[in-house]
Amino acid sequence: MPRNFRLLEELEKGEKGLGAEACSYGLADGDDMMMSNWNGTILGPPHSAHENRIYSVNLHCGDSYPDSPPTIQFVSKVNLPCVDQRNGKVDPSKVPCLAHWKRDYNMETILIELRRYMALPQHKKLQQPKEGETF
């Protein structure tokens, strides 16, 4: 499926809330014809330091999406091994679904995977910055 059809589909899914409830995503700028920049939120997984938090991320879908994964940058401060503590960028090599990207993955996949990543036993107890801080 060509990039834009795919993104339109994801846009609709995000706006109508058809996907998982723990994540939400949508176009950052509704007038952007290229649909490159997206906002996403991840609801912190329960029973972890992230519980009850809402993390905002920016996703950038390049021209080669969905053949290559979008780049992801946390807006909310979060302490995770895959997140660059200077700018919030997600290191794709540390997140399995980005490292082994498949064409049929989508932004929701990434958000859900990031959430799962937060809930991993080795990550869920990590000391987190105060909620509301941004990179």
């Binding site: 995000g14 706006e15 109508k16 809330g17 058809l18 409830e21 723990a22 939400s24 995503y25 949508g26 176009l27 950052a28 700028d29 509704g30 007038d31 997206w38 906002n39 996403g40 939120t41 609801l43 912190g44 997984p45 329960p46 029973h47 972890s48 519980e51 009850n52 809402i54 993390y55 905002s56 807006v75 909310s76 809930a119 105060k130 909620e131 509301g132 941004t134």
Partner: protein, 478 residues
């Protein structure tokens, strides 16, 4: 919470008011609001018991990957008609909340660690919204569906709702209530609901994508929500001498196990019974989608699978012409297999029926009746009926409900939904060890952060494999 750049302020000419869906972990609300409404005003609206029943300060609204800021209007976020806003309930402040400061109904104790932690947001925190003070509230099967604002258990009668399912007339009456049908429709449109139905039923799980497709199809929804189709169905059955809905005159009691017998009874069946009763006693529009959906689906199906008969079919066509166009389609759809195939299936020993599903493409389960040779040709119809064992009600019932091993997806559906009315044999006891039987549910619980294996198993056994029920149990445990 994060600062997001506000959406660009260039506005198109938009209608003044939009209908939006508010989705939280355990409920969905639809409401119409003016676009000029601010987030805070929307939260205040939602704080009424009619909707979320959570104070505005504890609500966070997310739309399209953005946390909505209190001062901004929906218009500034370009919320459009039919879109969904997620509602997340949380502590009023950013601090780690102190359980003591929360109301008793939302405070819970983590069963796995024994330490006090706030209820996770992923789990319905207002599950007791309507009946928080009713100690029996947690006992009703309907509540296990995860939808809040149910009436208390007291409404279900002294047997806690384990009576026979509602009669056809009551079903029709219920379905004539537009609010009811609408909610049922919504429930069936809710992918999570469908997921849950499939998740909880091994037969549906086996059907794979076909089952989902079937449950999500518009025809299915129409079938179980349209009072006319239900009525036509009842007429057909009556003409065949079958009791409408199988269990309406007491059969339900035979078909239902005692409330205590749980572990070997398919969860769906038990719940269907309880919830049917729920509908029966309280068919006001306060019923949440899950109840309606489940209760109603159980019955129409029981009826559906027992209905094909040439003469009765004729009769409906003559007497209720207006309803037939709607009514016939779903039935034809259900029987939308070529006649030869049916005969074949009947002649095969039960063990060999497994390959029938391949002959009966699930991708096209909704053949239009006009194109279905079965209904146009009386001979074929006769053949069909004979093949099914003489055309008696029991024969029909057995074909569709009584073959637990049949791989025909429709037969599976029959035994899935038709517990009380089908007269088919009960599912054989599942002797697998609980961790195997509840593997899927265990995984779900794990994903939700419940890691205590023994507790999880115990909870699942008590709830008969129902994840939501298990959650209730886990939360109720210190």
């Amino acid at each position: 919470m994060t600062q997001q750049p506000a959406a660009s302020t260039a506005e198109d000419t938009q209608p003044d008011s939009v209908t939006i869906n508010i989705k939280s972990t355990n409920a969905k609300h639809t409401l119409s609001v003016p676009l000029s409404i601010t987030t805070l005003e929307l939260k205040n609206k939602l704080s009424t018991p009619e909707y979320a029943g959570v104070p505005a300060s504890s609500q966070r609204l997310i739309y399209s990957g953005r946390v909505l800021k209190d001062g901004d209007t929906l218009e500034s976020y370009k919320v459009k008609d039919g879109n969904t806003v997620h509602l997340v309930k949380s502590a009023p402040s950013n601090q780690r909340q102190n359980p003591a400061s929360q109301s008793s109904s939302t405070t819970t104790t983590d069963s796995t660690t024994g330490s006090n932690v706030p209820r996770p947001t992923g789990v319905p925190s207002n599950i007791a919204a309507g009946t928080g003070n009713n100690p029996l509230a947690g006992l009703t099967g309907a509540r296990y569906a995860g939808f809040a604002q149910l009436p208390g258990a007291g409404l279900f009668g002294p047997d806690g709702g384990m009576g026979p399912p509602p009669s056809q007339e009551q079903m029709i009456e219920m379905l004539s209530n537009p609010a009811f049908s609408q909610m049922m429709n919504e429930a069936l449109q809710n992918p999570a609901m469908i997921d849950m139905m499939i998740q909880q039923n091994p037969q549906l799980r086996e059907m794979g994508p076909a089952g989902r497709q079937f449950l999500q199809s518009e025809q299915f929804r129409r079938m179980v929500t349209d009072p006319q189709s239900l009525r036509a169905m009842g007429q057909l059955q009556a003409a065949m001498g079958m009791r409408p809905f199988g269990g309406a005159d007491g059969g339900g009691q035979e078909a239902f196990p005692a409330p205590g017998i749980t572990t070997t009874t398919p969860a769906e069946n038990r719940e269907a019974g309880g919830e049917s009763q729920d509908n029966n006693r309280d068919n006001a529009s306060t019923n949440p989608p899950a109840t309606n959906n489940r209760g109603a689906t159980s019955n129409p199906f029981a009826a559906l699978f027992g209905m094909p008969h040439p003469t009765t079919n004729q009769q409906t066509t003559d007497t209720t012409r207006s309803s037939t166009s709607q009514a016939q389609n779903p039935f034809a759809a259900l029987l939308g297999m070529p006649p030869a195939n049916i005969n074949q299936q009947q002649q095969q020993p039960p063990g060999q029926q497994g390959n029938d599903s391949s002959n009966n493409p699930p991708a096209n389960p909704f053949l239009n009746i006009q194109n279905n040779p079965l209904f146009q040709n009386p001979d074929l119809m006769n053949q069909f009926v004979q093949a099914m064992g003489g055309g008696g009600a029991s024969g029909l019932g057995n074909l569709f409900g009584g073959n637990p091993g049949a791989a025909n997806p429709l037969a599976n559906l029959g035994s899935l939904f038709g517990g009380p009315g089908m007269g088919g044999p009960a599912t054989p006891p599942d002797n697998r060890p609980p961790e195997e039987r509840y593997a899927t549910q265990l995984r779900q619980l794990n994903e939700m952060g419940f890691f205590d294996f023994n507790k999880n198993i115990q909870a699942l056994q008590r709830s008969g494999g129902d994840v939501n029920g298990a959650l209730e149990f886990l939360f109720s445990q210190p």
